[in-house]
């Protein structure tokens, strides 16, 4: 009999590999090139040649890394599909986590490329620094509905853990899950703190543009945080209700969604570039 669940799972794995290692790297690559050309070349015209050289060499490295990892991941999924086995001939859930870590490599490479790009701009920056005298707090970066979603997600997760402590299922970690929640929260709080206090952003000359860039990065982080919170709750309920086949679907869909959000977030909003060409 045709195993509908298993075959759909393989298609989902293929889709995840294509999305995370072809589509997402392409989007973040294009967005970075767009930023480097539209912002870098207009605000740092004396660095024009250096920026072009930098893009030429670093984007090739990025393409090789992303392409290589795509072939590797595709081969892993194809092997599992042909042999009707689980990923890595091991376990689908653990395999998905491995594919996730493989897919995160191009994102990290792009982050390193962007960091070095700012160092390049620093070499060409003049001695002027501009800042606003307006006070910026967390509330300027995170909207009220988002704060509400974060808090309700926390309560939902804690409530679910308390419920399953009283109605446990096999493999349930009990109150240790709350430690995981604290770890997740800490990661996102630290990331948001670093985005708010990033000195490298001083290289974005206009404080309003700097604010738009920070706001964009923080909203994406908060959105991923919210999605992660609700995914954790859902995953707990899927396990608790013994719907394990759906757990793989949910995990893969979550990875799809998270990577796509990262990709679309790498595009700065139009307001960032507003007036840039006119200034030039």
């Amino acid at each position: 009999m045709f195993d509908w669940i298993s075959n759909t799972t393989y298609w989902l794995f293929f889709s995840q590999v294509i999305i995370t290692l072809i589509v997402v790297p392409m989007i973040i690559r294009n967005n970075f090139i767009d930023f480097a050309r539209r912002y870098g070349m207009t605000q740092y015209p004396n660095a024009k040649n250096a920026i072009e050289d930098y893009l030429l060499s670093n984007i090739s490295i990025f393409k090789i890394v992303a392409g290589g990892l795509f072939l590797l991941s595709f081969a892993i999924v194809a092997y599992a599909a042909v042999n009707q086995a689980e990923l890595f001939s091991w376990d689908n859930q653990a395999g998905l986590t491995c594919l996730f870590f493989i897919a995160i490599i191009p994102v990290l490479v792009m982050a390193a490329i962007q960091k070095r790009f700012f160092s390049l701009l620093a070499d060409y920056s003049d001695d002027k620094r501009v800042a606003t005298l307006k006070v910026r707090g967390v509330r300027d970066f995170i909207s009220k509905p988002m704060i509400l979603f974060i808090f309700s997600g926390q309560f939902l997760f804690i409530g679910s853990v308390v419920y399953f402590v009283n109605h446990p299922f096999d493999g349930f970690g009990g109150y240790l899950n709350l430690l995981g929640l604290a770890f997740l929260d800490s990661i996102f709080i630290i990331t948001i703190y670093f985005i708010m206090n990033n000195k490298r952003l001083a290289l974005i000359k206009d404080p309003n543009q700097r604010f738009v860039g920070q706001q964009n990065a923080i909203s994406v982080n908060v959105t991923i945080w919210i999605v992660a919170l609700y995914y954790l709750c859902l995953s707990l309920w899927i396990s608790g209700l013994d719907l394990l086949s759906y757990r793989i679907f949910m995990q893969s869909l979550y990875i799809h969604l998270m990577f796509l959000m990262v990709a679309f977030a790498s595009k700065l909003p139009a307001s960032f570039y507003q007036g840039l060409e006119e200034k030039q």
């Binding site: 001695d127 620094r129 501009v130 800042a131 005298l133 206090n197 952003l201 001083a202």
Partner: protein, 125 residues
Amino acid sequence: MITIELDSPEPLFNQLIIQIKKAIEAKQLYAGDALPSIRQLANDLDINSKTVAKAYRLLERDKVIETKGYRGTYVHPNALDNVQFNLNGWLYSQVSFAVNSYREAGATDSEIRIAFNQAMTNTKK
């Protein structure tokens, strides 16, 4: 909006003081307005937070700004009047007046310097 020049011979903390005073004089900032935190300004300008802290400390001494503990830093209620006051200029005129009177009394420059140094050492805060 404030702008500082890293290569300017004017110390950075002084540039900050001048810019904040200018913003108050130009009525971009009013009495009671909140000012950015030391960390925010230091990050935005990519300078050491100690430089911003020094500028804020001197502005607070001149009663141009006031710090309200953890609530933050605000423009002083009398800031508009106090920005006009130039402590360094006042100090210079006072010292010049005193030096002239010592010279008229017959003191040499080196005697005046020695006396000043001794007075500064013996009248430590």
